[in-house]
Symmetry: C2
Subunit: 297 residues, 2 copies
DNA sequence: CGCTAGGTGCATGTTATTTTCAAATTAAAA
DNA sequence: TTTTAATTTGAAAATAACATGCACCTAGCG
């Protein structure tokens, strides 16, 4: 992902560059799309510097040379289909904010994909796979995430429930012990009631996996903290993205558990849909549909 | 997007190429990521052909020369970070399936972003903005989506509820009329109970927005059908993606409604978090945190 | 069997990139 | 202010990469 931020990193490095190198930097920042088709001579003359300076500029940014730089730039521009944070203007058309919302979602997914620590996820999967019971706790916007998670783990034949009521959580919490696992989900990592419940279950020796930003009370309290750090909230981005990110991370956990418990289970996720088929309405006039491409509602 | 299909187009052109050019093609197809950092000499020797052949190969594919080809290839690879459908092998490492799950999610988002019909979305937003009450109906995996949606619309001061119990749906359904809107969410578009409820509310003149695949009974029954068609289910992809896609589409609707009801509401989505602050735990030893970057749970 | 056309690689020419080194500029000290 | 050292910059040469012309080879056809 170093290419992803190339332009940004040029801008950052800008002050540390030499005067004539800055000229190059300026030109590149202004016309990145031209640059990738330019030869070093062209770029040098356009930026009013000599060719060696261009090379030095590339080296200063830790590239092997001009070619390497150009290649990386090209990649950056291609991948960088601005999956950036968005900010909504009240005069955006539907088309525009639709794009913005999707792009920012995608950008956040890309970030978390990079960020997600594999080892932490592995140990989370381990403990989930061994658990006697799994409970998901979360409030507000995280409540539906918990429901969904419990639903998913159920299919893996893992005994699981979700609670978004602090009393229910507390009641359930005291019945858990070291054989169980709690997954605490929070966008803030600072919800008092959730922290309270987590303290309860930790006292009983239960493993607590957290899904929340790092350096938060919840993250600190968890046995296995999975950090979900979004970029600073530009507008509504955080609001919308976190729950989706939580869902996707839970998908990763679920698949991991499924694979651990036996390859058959992966199929089990799929086969359940058959038992649900009777709940479905087939098209009346059409011949029988091809094996449905869908699954449980 | 011509770069997007570069590898594919090489494969297509393959039979039309000369024998030695095919050797080049084969090598490129097998090691695209190496190629972009190779010099023409390396590629030539790796593919066991001469350098001119490599150039001819590039020309045959309508590029100016080797450089041009390499650049385009690099771009293609960058954008094309195979956001393709995945298929899980039971021997995948955590790292591997993590990537697969995220990539397939991103791929699906990109697809739906393209696919989502702006006009349909606009009219959905219109009716939602005018509605007296909005109700979200869905079962199984779609139930949490409904809860989340209701939650979100609540913040827009739109009176909304979600039901994932067929009886509750039916009871509530008969109380609606043409001033109300129902959003029916389904991954299959064929859930009998949901179809039944939809029939009830349609009889009362209520607008029904559906989120489900096209050409399904639900989609046909809806007043405003929003089509969510995923690629044929490769493994678990559909299973995991649809609910996330539904959530994101609902985000789009919610933002649209917020913008329609008045720009203040966009802020309202954000300001609610203040009222929730008291539910949070601040770090005990640290000075007061900077204005929290988070929001309601 | 020989001829022709298309395909291939060698060797060379051309162009682009990198390095070297000296000039110039700037900063620092006297 | 002048001198000196250090850093920055560009000119030119060297190197490496790429493209092209041409000759050779192979295969297909008469």
């Amino acid at each position: 992902m170093n290419s992803f931020n190339l332009l940004k990193s040029i801008a950052e490095a800008h002050p540390n560059l030499r005067k004539s190198e800055q000229k190059v930097a300026d030109f590149v920042l202004e016309n990145p799309n031209e640059v990738i088709h330019m030869r070093i001579v062209d770029l040098a003359s356009e930026a009013n510097v000599s060719e060696p300076t261009v090379v030095r500029f590339c080296r200063a940014l830790n590239y092997d040379g001009f070619q390497d730089f150009k290649l990386t730039l090209a990649q950056g521009l291609a991948s960088n289909t601005n999956f950036e944070q968005f900010s909504l203007n009240s005069k955006d058309t539907v088309m525009e904010f639709k794009e913005k919302i999707f792009d920012s979602m995608i950008g956040n997914l890309l970030n978390i994909k990079e960020q997600l620590d594999t080892e932490t996820v592995e140990s989370a999967i381990d403990s989930l796979a061994k658990a006697r019971r799994v409970e998901f706790y979360g409030f507000g916007a995280s409540a539906p995430v918990c429901t969904d998670a419990a639903h998913k783990f159920h299919r893996l034949k893992v005994s699981s429930t979700s609670y978004s009521d602090p009393h229910m959580q507390a009641i359930s919490a005291v019945s858990l012990d070291e054989r169980d696992v709690v997954v605490a989900i929070s966008q803030t990592g600072r919800t008092k009631d959730l922290l309270h419940t987590v303290k309860l279950v930790k006292d009983a020796g239960t493993t607590v996996i957290s899904l929340c930003p790092s350096n938060t009370p919840l993250s600190d309290a968890a046995t296995i903290p999975i950090h979900i750090d979004l970029e600073e909230d530009k507008d509504l981005s955080t609001l919308m993205s976190s729950r989706v990110l939580h869902l996707v991370v839970i998908d990763v956990l679920a698949v991991g558990v499924a694979m651990k418990l036996g390859p058959g289970l992966i199929d089990h996720l799929k086969t359940i849909k058959r038992s649900l088929r009777s709940l479905r309405q087939n098209d009346k006039r059409l011949p029988l549909r091809k094996p449905s491409s869908s699954e449980e509602e």
